[in-house]
Symmetry: C2
């Protein structure tokens, strides 16, 4: 009869699923940041009402946890062959890139959440690669924390400036003009260094600290203190 048997809203035929909800959440947060991710808006994105999401996600915390897991799963695991430093460097840069792609993820690190499978897998892979490179259990433990701290810390530092620069390209110049140059001479110099055009072959700031740590670790390993 007039009841639609076939043609009623064909796109809404795709049933909701946890995976679809998480993906839509990631997409929404990528575009507008975490503050634009509300249950209502996410539901709207999916052509659904807010409360329907709760059939696939325990609550908002669970949603965010799932999204963070998704992010971790995008990190490239360290290659088990070749130079350990090259492998770790690659993974660290991949992690950094992932965080730049999903900037909201950084603010989720702080809130305690249930264990995320992808995160545990990432950790085990990194720890394993360090062990196979000849580090003791103790040194591996320290090395892991040093590396992860740098990745997360550096990215966290970078993000606000990216946000500023995005909405106002001459942000640095403006900042310099307002800066009391005589009171804060070294900061003034620092900003100038930041404004220099990239020199060819210059490793970025991120890689600098990364290599510093990697070299230090290798030296400690070779010194054999253990």
């Amino acid at each position: 009869m007039s009841t639609q048997t076939d043609q009623a809203a064909p796109e809404s035929r795709i049933p909701l699923s946890r995976d679809r909800v998480l993906r839509a959440g990631v997409e929404l947060a990528d575009e507008g940041g975490l503050e634009s991710l509300s249950m209502r808006r996410l539901a709207q994105q999916l052509g659904v009402e807010a409360m329907s999401l709760y059939h696939h996600v325990r609550n908002k915390q669970d949603l965010l946890g799932g999204m963070l897991d998704f992010v971790y799963s995008e990190i490239q695991a360290p290659s088990s062959e070749g130079d350990w430093r090259a492998a770790m460097r690659c993974t660290a840069i991949s992690f950094h890139d992932v965080l730049l792609r999903h900037q909201w993820a950084c603010s989720l690190f702080m809130s305690p959440m249930g264990p995320s499978p992808a995160r545990l897998r990432y950790m085990d892979a990194v720890l394993g690669r360090l062990r196979s490179a000849g580090f003791s259990a103790d040194m591996t433990h320290h090395a892991y924390h040093a590396l992860d701290s740098h990745i997360v810390g550096f990215t966290l530092w970078l993000l606000p400036f990216l946000a500023f620069a995005k909405q106002q390209p001459d942000y640095a110049e403006r900042f310099l003009q307002e800066l009391p140059t005589d009171e804060l001479p070294h900061l003034t110099e620092h900003v100038h260094v930041h404004m220099e055009p990239e020199r060819p072959g210059d490793v970025g700031e991120f890689e600098f600290g990364l290599d510093l740590i990697l070299e230090g670790l290798e030296r400690m390993r070779d010194a054999g203190s253990n």
Copy 2:
């Protein structure tokens, strides 16, 4: 007459002020975290209605910015005398301690805010100390980022675990029991290392990475590459 000239609600005689608002905000966030800091609750704490706060604070973002500035002002500036590594070590540890005292501050690093005077002063002091230790402008710039990344990154990593451990002391044991040991052997080992009692003379995880960076920097400076 019967109107109270002197004795009416003596504690509410203290007028509100930006400083009092910020301090109360810090106190509230220290106790209950950022999520317990609402304008209404903060006002209640001060014996006042929410909207009154807006005479001393532009909006909530401004309040948080002021609180963060307060936090930065607690960091011990590097001593300009003696070994530069000792000075920077001291400042880094002080920064770390401050962040442990005001754990909510870490989640504010991400959101772009107007420049905070105390933060600029902190940066200038650190940069100046590095310059006076003989680093070039370029190296100083890199050194600063390496150090700050470690401080912030490491603390950010630590905080969720402190939160877990606080509300459940045997958290690590429980976690180990649920861990699929055969699938994640290195992570299992890692957790075991974490559970070892502190050995005497063992520098903590934070200091390990810190010293790694400081030594690496000194070596680069002495190599004179520049």
